[in-house]
Chain length 250, copies 3
């Protein structure tokens, strides 16, 4: 364990073995950090809040939280979290394995995120959003939740597994994006999107099956489902499971 001498770490925090905590970082008491994790500089980890349920912030083993990030108490993130710089994760966030949050990500809490979900920079997740396994979200995407703001009605979005949401798109309150669907860049998604369909535009409309998009690498292969060709960063057993399931389906 290497805690920089300028880090302020509560004696009540439960810090695993081989954890590295950077300069000028604050770790509050109601926190558990798994073995082998790295916390960068200038972070604040485990911010107390009356809006939580009193449970600790739990960060799984082998996680990397980059500088200037802020995590509140009462969230559970499983092992292998990786963040960019300046992310915010509020209370009551549940996230699975190998969650990746790009720089400036802003998770408002009270939401549920699956395994191997990847957010690029500057993604905003409203409360009560549900995101399934293997979803990709690109920069400046917003998941909204209030159908007639401001109000007390909260209608989170649901994003099903393998969906990809391209940059600068907004998913409007209560919308479900289906398994393997692709939301094109700069879209405003006001209605549910079906399995393996493309939705694009403001407002977004159906543009056919994702299978019609070809890879721009002269292979002539289809670009979707993306898991047929894009495997970087996933464990071998995960990829093997995808390919076996696709083969059974085909």
């Amino acid at each position: 364990m290497t805690i920089h001498p300028t880090a302020i770490v509560s004696s009540e925090a439960k810090i695993g073995v081989n954890v590295n905590i950077g300069p000028y970082t604050i770790v509050h008491g109601n926190v558990e950090i798994g073995n082998g994790s790295i916390i960068g500089s200038h972070c604040e980890i485990g911010v107390p809040t009356p809006r939580g349920d009193g449970s600790p912030l739990s960060i799984g083993a082998n996680s990397t939280i980059r500088s200037h990030s802020v995590f509140y108490e009462s969230s559970v993130i499983e092992e292998g979290l990786t963040t960019g710089h300046r992310v915010t994760v509020r209370e009551m966030t549940q996230a699975g394995r190998a969650f990746q949050i790009g720089t400036l990500g802003d998770i408002q809490g009270h939401c549920r995120i699956g395994d191997y979900v990847k957010f690029h920079s500057n993604v905003h997740v409203g409360q009560h959003t549900i995101i399934d396994d293997f979803v990709w979200v690109f920069p400046y995407v917003v998941f909204a939740n209030d159908p007639h703001p401001p109000s007390e009605v909260v209608a989170g979005c649901t994003i099903q597994r393998f969906a990809a949401i391209a940059t600068m798109s907004t998913i409007l309150p209560g919308v479900t994006v289906g398994e393997g669907a692709l939301i094109g860049a700069c879209s405003a998604v006001t209605r549910d999107v079906g399995k393996d369909r493309i939705a694009l535009g403001n407002p977004a409309t159906d543009r056919g099956p994702t299978s019609k998009i070809k890879l721009r690498d002269d292979s002539g292969r289809p670009a979707y489902p993306w898991r047929t060709h894009f495997h970087r960063g996933y464990p071998e057993h995960v990829v093997a499971g995808w390919l076996a399931a696709l083969s059974n389906r085909g």
Copy 2:
């Protein structure tokens, strides 16, 4: 008064009673902080700038500024300010009571903001924007000010009281959004919007009166004016004033 031992607070700063200043925060000299305020960690408060008028940064009583925020000198914010993390407020900003700025908010200064104005995350306010009392602004909204960038012409937007600007919308330079108007999500507002009208789209067009939107809570009540049903976070006397005025109007 609790100033963390790692905070760097100028002896010239005027700090009220019961003020709490967090670790690794810097408070410059040309600053006044009202009684009972809380400044989080890793902030820089009162940044000197030649673009101000030499007046101090004045933060009203009972304010909360969350971590990693930056405020310049020569702004006046009245009591009850609440910010998220990493907000920036430049010089020559005037803001009223109970101003709320979400995480990553970026106020460029030289602007005027009324009482009880609420910004959600990642709102960008160009110079010379005017925002009246009780306005709501949702994530990733931009108030622009240059009609043909880059130029020396500055044409700030004006947002009248009770208006609500939904997520990912841009208000173009010089536009006035009328009292109680609703700007739908992902809109580009290029023309003035009338009182209690809905504008939506890119470019935004008129979509009728806000009164036609019903609350999605099975009450059958109209969702607008939102002040008929949404009162969370406002003092009782403020709400009573709204309801009395609506009743006189009806």
Copy 3:
């Protein structure tokens, strides 16, 4: 040289004369900072990364990096850099003289930026973007690079000199924006834009030559090319060069 006593500066870093380093800032070893530069508080400069080429981060003379910013190793930025707060610049970024990056700017690295390029707040630059001299980019603009995300295909945008990209616009992968072109606010630019043309909308379409836009200052002069009337912040010899070239062309 003034290094704040709380700054953590590696003895291996090469720091020029009259450099000022603020409180709670970290400077790693593989860093060169030119004479007369100012680094604000709470920064992390020269973050090590295996994705670089082992070369140092080189920041030219007379640069200003504002608080909470993060720069990785293996980038070269020439003299006169100015940043807002909380910018991120990843490895393998090459940038010319007088580069300006607004608050919250996010440069993903592996990109090439010319001289006198100006980014307003919250600009996102994907890897393999190329931006020529004298380009202006306004808030919340995204330069994308993956034509069918997620994939291993990287197709950066190219922005030619004197182009201006207005707020909340996205330049889609592989697109070239021509010299002097204007991208209107809230546009999704899916195709190349010609020299001195206006593109606007989602998806963006051609709207004629930039010369048809008049300055809104009662002068009746054209607003474009903007270098005929907007000279703030450029050295005299640069402006003289522009005007001579325009005169020869006219």
